[in-house]
C-alpha cells in the first residue's frame, strides 16, 4: 500500500488503523448474521420457483402441500395486496411502481424468469417445507424467452409486459420491451468527428453478472397479532426494507421494525428487500415467526444480478492526441421488470474524459432474467469497458502512449459533466501521474515466447459517488465514552471509519467511541449503505454530531463552572475556562446526573459529493494454444479523497479489482436455449479464487474533497470499473487481438486467435 498525500499535518485518529470495533465479535463468531437469526416458535419457509424463463401460469394447486403434516402456511400472489399505481422510492436505481416489486416477489399470471417465486410454504422444519414445495402443482403454458437486450428489441420479439410503454421514447403507444430511452447530447458531435484524424467505433457485449456476496439472503419475520411486523435481516438498507414492506404489504411504516443484522457482503445486491415479503405473508398466515434463507442456487437464480448489456462506442481523436468527440449507445438489460442503471450510462461514459462533444444514448430493456439490482458502480464498468477499449485502439492507431494520451485528455476541475454541470476538484490527473511513476508501469515486461505471450493494459474508471440522507445519535456516557448510533449498515468497515471521524472532531480516543448500527426504531430514517456514501455522508453527519456534542459539554461546563459559554474553550478534547480544565472523561463525570442533555441526534442530507477516479494497470499472460489468460501483475491506483482507515481502503481497491477481473475473464450467467440458468452454483459460476489473482498492488492518491471536513470521497465502487478494459487491453497487447465480448473465456480468446491466424481449431463465442 502506497499513499500519496498532499500534506503531512496529521495527528488525529483519521488516517490511522486502530483495531476495528466489530473485529473481535467477527473473529470469535459472536457476530450475528442474517442466517443466525432466531425467534421463539419459529417456522422455516421455502419457495417454489419457476422452472421456466417465460410462461403463463394456468393454475396453482396447493392442496397437496397444504394437507401435509407439519405445514403451517402456503401463500401465493393472492395473499399480497394489489398495490395499484403506487410508487416506491426503491433504491439507487430509481423510483419504480410497487406493482413491479410485488410481481417480482411472487408471480401473478406469468413467470418471467427461471427462478421466479410462485408460492412459499412455512413448515416446522426445512425438510418438511422442501417436501411440501414439491407438492404444489402448477400448470404452465410456456412462452418464448427473450434472453438479451437486442433480441428483446427485435421486431416480433416476445413481449414480457403488454402494458409496458417506453418512457422518453418516440415509439408511441405500442407493445415493447423497452422501458426507458435515454439521450444526452453536449456540443456538436458531428463537427467533433469531422475534426478528428482517426475515428474508431466498436461494439461490445457483457454478460449478466452476480455480485457474489458469500452470505446468502436471509430474513426472519414475525407478524405479531397486534399488526406489528418484526424483521431481522441481512441488508444494506433497513429503512429501504421498511418502506418496501410498507408499500408491498400496505401497512404503516411505523408498524414495521427492521433490525439489520451483520452482513456477509452485499456490493449493492442487498440494497432492496428479497425474502422479507414472503416471510411476512407466511408469518401472517401461520401466526408464527418465519425464517427464510436462500441456498446458493436461489441466490444466483432469484436475487438481483448486474445487467448484461450491448454497447457501441465511437471516439474521434486528432493525430496530436486530443479527443474531439465521443458517441456511446448502450442497451442495458433491466431483467424481468423496469428500472436499471441506464440513466448512469451518460455520466459514466462522459465522465472518463475531458469532452466538449458527446452523445450518449441508450435503452433499458426487459428480458427473461432476474430483475437487476445495484452492483458496485452500476453501469460504469460497462461504460469503461467500451470507452477504454476504443481509446486503447485509438492510441495504437495514432501511435501514442496510452498513459500520455489519457493525461492529455483527463477530466479535471471545470470539465463538462453529462448533466451540464462542471466538475469541481477531482483527481484523475493525479491518478494517472501516480500510475506513470509506479514501479509497475516503469517495469519492463518479458513478452514471453510462443505459446506464452504477455502484455500490459491500462484503463481508467469513474464513479459519481453518492451523498444523501444520513443519521447518527451520539451520547456521551458517564465514563467519558461515546455511544454512536449509526443509521448505516456496516458492510465495508464503516463503524470504524465513522467513529474515526467522530473521535477526531471531538478530540477523543477512537477506542472510546462505541459505534452501533441501529434498527429502524432507534434512529431517524437514513439512506442505505451504497453508492460509496457511508464513510463520506454518515461520517460527515457524525462530524457534525461531534461538534454539537462538544457544544453541549461546553454549555454544561459553563453552567457548572459559572462562567459564560464563550469562556469555555475546547481543544483536542480538553475543555478549559481560565484555570479550570477538564478532559472529556472528567467533563462526563462532572456532568453526570446534572440534567444537561449530553446526547445529540442529527439527520440530514449531505451535499458536496466528491467523484472518484481510478486507473488500473494489468499484466496478463496468455497461452496461445489454449486461449487461457492469467493475470500476473496488477496495480490499482485511486483517488480516495482521504484514506480514513487505510487497510479498509486498500481492501476496497483489491476487492473491487478482484471482482472486475472475474467480470473480465470468467463470470457470466449461462443460459440454455430455453432460458434456463445452467450455472447457478459457485462451481460453474466462476468467480476468481485467491489462486487466480496476483497480489493486487495499491496506490492510494489523496486529492481531498473540498466539501468534506476530512476530504473524504467515496471509495468502494470505482475500483470495479477499470479492470474489464485493463484486462482486455492487456490481452490485446499480448496477442494482438481485440476481444469485445465478456467474459473473455478461453473459448472466446481461442476463437479470436484462430481468426487472427486464419486457422481452424478455435471455437465460436459463448
Amino acid at each position: 500500500l502506497t499513499i500519496i498525500q498532499p500534506r503531512v499535518d496529521r495527528a488525529g485518529p483519521v488516517g490511522t488503523s486502530p483495531l476495528r470495533h466489530d473485529g473481535v465479535d467477527k473473529v470469535t463468531g459472536r457476530a450475528l448474521y442474517g442466517i443466525d437469526a432466531s425467534m421463539p416458535n419459529m417456522l422455516i419457509g421455502k419457495v417454489l420457483r419457476s422452472p421456466h424463463a417465460h410462461a403463463r401460469i394456468i393454475s396453482i394447486d396447493t392442496r397437496r402441500a397444504q394437507s401435509m403434516r407439519g405445514v403451517h402456511a402456503v401463500v401465493t400472489w393472492k395473499d399480497l395486496p394489489d398495490p395499484g399505481d403506487q410508487m416506491l422510492a426503491a433504491n439507487e436505481q430509481g423510483e419504480a411502481p410497487i406493482r413491479f416489486k410485488a410481481l417480482n416477489m411472487i408471480a401473478r399470471d406469468k413467470v418471467l424468469y427461471h427462478g421466479h417465486a410462485i408460492a412459499a410454504i412455512a413448515a416446522v422444519d426445512g425438510q418438511t417445507a422442501e417436501e411440501a414445495v414439491k407438492r404444489i402443482d402448477v400448470l404452465y403454458e410456456e412462452l418464448p424467452a427473450v434472453m438479451d437486450a437486442r433480441a428483446a428489441m427485435a421486431v416480433g420479439a416476445a413481449i414480457l409486459d403488454p402494458e409496458l410503454r417506453t418512457r422518453n421514447g418516440a415509439a408511441g403507444d405500442r407493445l415493447t420491451n423497452v422501458a426507458l430511452h435515454m439521450r444526452v447530447l453536449a456540443g456538436d458531435v458531428e463537427r467533433g468527428f469531422a475534426e478528428a484524424d482517426v475515428v474508431i467505433e466498436r461494439e461490445f457485449t457483457t454478460s449478466t453478472i452476480h455480485q457474489g456476496y458469500l452470505e446468502p439472503h436471509a430474513a426472519t419475520v414475525y407478524w405479531r397479532p397486534d399488526g406489528h411486523l418484526l424483521v431481522e435481516t441481512s441488508t444494506q438498507a433497513q429503512f429501504g426494507v421498511r418502506s418496501e414492506l410498507a408499500g408491498l404489504l400496505q401497512i404503516p411504516p411505523s408498524q414495521i421494525h427492521v433490525t439489520p443484522l451483520e452482513i456477509g457482503g452485499g456490493f449493492g445486491g442487498k440494497t432492496t428487500s428479497w425474502l422479507e415479503t414472503l416471510a411476512a405473508l407466511l408469518s401472517r398466515a401461520s401466526g408464527r415467526p418465519v425464517k427464510m434463507v436462500m441456498n446458493r442456487a436461489e441466490v444466483l437464480l432469484a436475487s438481483g444480478p448486474a445487467p448484461g448489456a450491448y454497447l457501441r462506442a465511437k471516439i474521434g481523436a486528432t493525430n496530436a492526441g486530443k479527443i474531439t468527440a465521443m458517441q456511446v449507445y448502450a442497451a442495458v438489460e433491466a431483467g424481468a421488470f423496469p428500472s436499471s442503471p441506464l440513466p448512469r450510462v451518460a455520466h459514466c461514459a462522459a465522465g472518463l474524459y475531458d469532452l466538449n462533444n458527446f452523445l450518449i444514448e441508450g435503452d433499458e430493456v426487459l428480458v427473461n432474467k432476474p430483475k437487476t439490482t445495484a452492483y458496485r458502480a452500476p453501469a460504469s464498468p460497462h461504460c469503461s469497458f467500451a470507452v477504454e477499449s476504443v481509446v486503447d485502439e485509438l492510441c495504437r492507431s495514432i501511435g501514442q502512449d496510452p498513459l500520455a494520451f489519457r493525461l492529455a485528455n483527463a477530466p479535471k476541475e471545470g470539465s463538462l459533466r453529462a448533466d451540464g454541470s462542471r466538475f469541481e476538484r477531482i483527481g484523475m490527473v493525479e491518478c494517472l501521474e501516480a500510475a506513470q511513476s509506479s514501479a509497475h508501469w516503469r517495469s519492463t515486461l518479458d513478452r514471453g515466447s510462443r505459446p506464452i505471450r504477455r502484455g500490459r493494459g491500462i484503463a481508467g474508471g469513474f464513479w459519481i459517488n453518492g451523498g444523501g440522507l444520513s443519521s447518527v445519535t451520539a451520547r456521551l456516557n458517564t465514563d467519558g465514552t461515546v455511544t454512536l448510533l449509526e443509521g448505516s449498515p456496516d458492510i465495508g468497515g464503516t463503524r470504524t471509519s465513522i467513529a474515526l471521524q467522530f473521535a477526531e472532531t471531538l478530540g477523543m480516543a477512537v477506542a472510546d467511541v462505541h459505534p452501533i448500527v441501529a434498527d429502524t426504531d432507534s434512529i431517524p430514517t437514513s439512506g442505505m449503505t451504497g453508492g460509496s456514501r457511508t464513510t463520506f455522508a454518515t461520517g460527515y453527519i457524525a462530524h457534525r454530531a461531534a461538534l454539537a456534542l462538544r457544544e453541549r459539554v461546553i454549555a454544561g461546563l459553563a453552567k457548572l463552572w459559572a462562567v459564560s459559554h464563550d469562556d469555555v474553550r475546547a481543544d483536542s478534547g480538553l475543555f478549559t475556562a481560565g484555570s479550570r480544565a477538564a478532559t472529556l472523561k472528567v467533563a462526563a463525570q462532572l456532568l453526570a446526573g446534572s440534567g444537561v442533555d449530553l446526547s445529540v441526534t442529527l439527520s440530514d442530507r449531505v451535499p458536496g459529493v466528491g467523484p472518484a477516479y481510478a486507473v488500473h494497470i494489468a499484466d496478463v499472460e496468455v497461452d496461445e494454444e489454449t486461449g487461457r489468460t492469467r493475470v500476473i501483475r496488477y496495480t490499482a491506483v485511486q483517488d480516495v479523497g482521504r484514506a480514513v482507515y487505510p487497510p479498509y481502503v486498500e481492501s476496497q481497491l483489491q476487492g473491487g479489482a478482484a471482482q472486475g477481473i472475474g467480470w473480465a475473464l470468467h463470470e457470466g450467467y449461462w443460459y440454455d436455449s430455453q432460458g434456463r440458468l445452467k450455472n447457478a452454483s459457485l462451481l460453474d459460476y466462476r468467480m476468481p479464487t485467491a489462486l487466480d489473482l496476483p497480489m493486487i498492488e495499491t496506490i492510494v492518491v489523496e486529492v481531498p474533497n473540498p466539501h468534506h471536513p476530512y476530504g473524504v470521497r467515496g471509495v468502494g465502487e470505482v475500483p470495479i470499473v477499470p479492470p474489464l478494459a485493463a484486462i482486455a487491453n492487456a490481452i490485446r497487447d499480448a496477442v494482438g487481438v481485440r476481444v469485445t465480448d465478456l467474459p473473455i473465456t478461453p473459448a472466446r480468446l481461442s476463437a479470436a486467435l484462430a481468426a487472427r491466424d486464419g486457422t481452424q481449431g478455435g471455437a465460436t463465442a459463448q
Binding site: R686, T689, L691, D692, T745, S750, G762, A763, Q766
Partner: protein, 291 residues
C-alpha cells in the same frame, strides 16, 4: 434432504448382502463427496447408504511382488498422491489425484467413488484407462474383472449391477522405459470441473514406442479410450510429428458437447493441445527413467 438408513459393514460379503437386500435403493458410500451432494440436492432417490470404509479390502493400498498396484476402491486421493511408489510408477494417476478438489475433498474422495460416479469429466478416469487398470468387482454370484475402459457405460452409469460392489482396482506394473502424464484444462487455477482431460502412457524400447495409450475426459459421455490415436504411435520414435498426428486423431475421435463449462469446438481444439503436451511429458518421463 431425506431420511436414510446407514450401514457400515466390515466385510465384502456383508456389503454385497446389504446391496442385494436393498437394491436398487442402496448405494455405497466412500468419501461421500459426490453421494452426499447428490442426496442433498435430491438428484437421487437412494435411501440406504452402505459405508465401505470399514472393509479392509476397500481401504488397502498395496503393491504385489510383481509391481502391480492394488488400490482399494475407498482409498482417498491424498493417500494416492502421498505415495512415493505410485508417484514414481504411475505419474498420471498422481497428477490426477493431486488436482481433484481441494485438500478437504482429497481427504475424503476416493478413486473407486470417482469411477462409480462415472462422470465424463472425472479426473482419475483417463489415467486409469491409460494405465490399463482393471476393476475387481464382487457380487452375490462371485467375482469378476472389468477393464477400466469398459467400466463406465453412460454419464452416471457403470457396468455394476445394483447388487455389485467395486472392491479394488489393479494397475499393472510399470514397464521399463515407460512414462505417463495427465493434463487437465480448466479456466481457473482451482475449483473447476475438467473442460478437457488427457492422459498419455508411453513405453519405449530401443528408442521406439512399444506401447501407447491415450485416454480423454469430458469429451464424450464416458471417458474415452483413444485407441486409434495411440495405435498411430506404436512403432514410431515418438517424435513431434507422430505426437502431432496422434493429437489430431484424438481430436477427430472426440465427441464433445457445448455446455456452461466450454464449447464443443474449443474442447475439440484443446484435445489436440493437451494430447500433444501429455505425450511430450510422458515421453520425457520415459526417457528420463529408461537408463
Amino acid at each position: 434432504v431425506r431420511r436414510i438408513a446407514y450401514h457400515a459393514p466390515t466385510t465384502v460379503e456383508q456389503a454385497v448382502a446389504l446391496l442385494a437386500t436393498n437394491a436398487p435403493r442402496a448405494r455405497i458410500l466412500a468419501g461421500g463427496t459426490d453421494l452426499i451432494v447428490q442426496l442433498r440436492e435430491d438428484l437421487r432417490d437412494w435411501d440406504v447408504v452402505i459405508d465401505a470404509k470399514r472393509i479392509p479390502e476397500l481401504t488397502a493400498l498395496t503393491f504385489t511382488d510383481a509391481g502391480d498396484l492394488h488400490l482399494g476402491a475407498a482409498v482417498p486421493f491424498y493417500r494416492i498422491y502421498g505415495n512415493q511408489r505410485i508417484a514414481q510408477a504411475f505419474e498420471a494417476l498422481t497428477e490426477a489425484a493431486r488436482i481433484i478438489g481441494g485438500i478437504a475433498i482429497q481427504g475424503r474422495a476416493s478413486v473407486g467413488g470417482n469411477l462409480c460416479n462415472a462422470g465424463p469429466a472425472g479426473d482419475s478416469l483417463p489415467p486409469l484407462l491409460a494405465l490399463g487398470a482393471q476393476c475387481f468387482i464382487a457380487g452375490p454370484r462371485g467375482h469378476r474383472e472389468v477393464a477400466a475402459a469398459e467400466f463406465c457405460v453412460a454419464p452416471g452409469r457403470t457396468v455394476l449391477a445394483p447388487d455389485e460392489l467395486l472392491v479394488h482396482i489393479r494397475i499393472p506394473a510399470r514397464l521399463r522405459g515407460s512414462g505417463s502424464a495427465y493434463l487437465r484444462f480448466i479456466p481457473r487455477e482451482e475449483m473447476d470441473i475438467a473442460v478437457v482431460g488427457a492422459a498419455a502412457h508411453l513405453a519405449f524400447s530401443d528408442g521406439v514406442v512399444t506401447s501407447a495409450a491415450i485416454a480423454l475426459g469430458a469429451v464424450a459421455p464416458t471417458p474415452l479410450d483413444a485407441q486409434a490415436a495411440s495405435a498411430a504411435l506404436v512403432g514410431t520414435t515418438g517424435n513431434s510429428e507422430s505426437f502431432q498426428l496422434a493429437a489430431e486423431i484424438a481430436r477427430e475421435i472426440s465427441r464433445p458437447i457445448s455446455d456452461m463449462r466450454g464449447t464443443a469446438e474449443h474442447r475439440r481444439h484443446l484435445v489436440g493441445v493437451l494430447v500433444r503436451r501429455a505425450l511430450e511429458s510422458a515421453a520425457a518421463r520415459a526417457h528420463a527413467t529408461a537408463v
